[in-house]
Symmetry: C2
Subunit: 200 residues, 2 copies
């Protein structure tokens, strides 16, 4: 069983996460046994299990931290930009940049969906965090009277879906480059904003 968080060494935990991520991208999640992650890290087997229960636990941890990073980058941007209508669109530049800067995690996110129930449970947890965050931001805009009163959850789903699909087109299909990806996501949000933002 993993140690309680207070007893964990942060650098060691981080090193195990990074080794796992490298191997997942290199050989695929399914073709990476835990023993290879341990070998790459240079730690003993016991050390690994002080931090993670199994391979799924690593994936879950990677995605958990990724969600926190995405949400806090957007929150930092919100501190500078108070215009709700403008930030509904521009926030997506920040959001997509965080995905783009974490190319390996994004690749895992785009490739493993549907592959197994355990993975889908981890992905769903990751996506639910983003969906909640998007939904709350839309509801906040509605409460402040800047947005029209539209159902927030379906719109949040559409937004996450668009981000995920364009990430897939960029990182898996290589059918668009990073700039085209961001431009398409922004254009889509501009179209939504036409109906979402109240006319002044």
């Amino acid at each position: 069983m993993p140690l309680p968080e207070l007893k964990q060494n942060k650098e060691r935990r981080q090193r195990l996460l990074e080794c796992a991520l490298d191997l997942f991208v290199e050989r695929g999640y399914f073709n990476t046994p835990v023993r290879e992650i341990i070998a790459k890290s240079g730690f003993g087997t016991g050390t690994f299990y002080n931090y993670f229960a199994d391979k799924e636990d690593i994936l879950k941890s990677l995605l958990d931290e990724f969600a926190i990073q995405i949400i806090s980058s957007v929150n930092n941007y919100y501190i500078q930009e108070k215009d709700l209508a403008k930030r509904f669109i521009e926030t997506k530049r920040v959001n997509m940049e965080v995905f783009a800067q974490n190319e390996k995690l994004t690749e895992i996110y785009c490739r493993v969906a549907g592959a197994s129930d355990v993975i889908d449970a981890s992905l769903q947890q990751f996506e639910n965090k983003l969906l909640d965050f998007f939904t709350k931001n839309i509801e906040y805009g509605i409460r402040k009277g800047v947005f029209n009163d539209v159902p927030a959850s379906p719109l949040a789903h559409g937004i996450l879906a668009m981000e995920k699909y364009l990430l897939y087109k960029w990182i898996v299909l290589k059918a668009v480059n990073k700039e085209e990806m961001i431009a398409m996501v922004l254009s889509f949000h501009e179209t939504i904003a036409r109906g979402l933002v109240k006319k002044q």
Copy 2:
């Protein structure tokens, strides 16, 4: 090499496609060797190769026919409904019903993305057909003066992305039922329509 289409027996071709689809859903695309498809069909090995070059060719054919079926169902609905604003939303009911009625194909579509380059090429061809169709319908509405002049391709991507994501939530995650899935897709389109459809 497969026979020219005119020399092919349609029922035999259809039987091979159906056997393959059953096996793909049952055991996964990657765990289904061609010889099992042949065994299930009851045909000889030579017969299989009169119709398909390999397993990827079967997947491509399944997706090709699926795209044609989706597009023609929507086109049939367009014959009855001429109000472009109304049909922008209601067409999604038809569209999602075709996915839902072809549960096995939808499951394959939702599960195999990102798994290999060959598969992604087949998926991309399938999705490009739908994206073209959605884009043309939006452009038609703009030309007719019913829709505002928004960039059609990013919006078409957002629409396909939302459909795909909700299909995944329904068929893979089982996090929503069919009615909830359709209701969310329609709600999302209603929100878009607020900005897309010109005020009269």
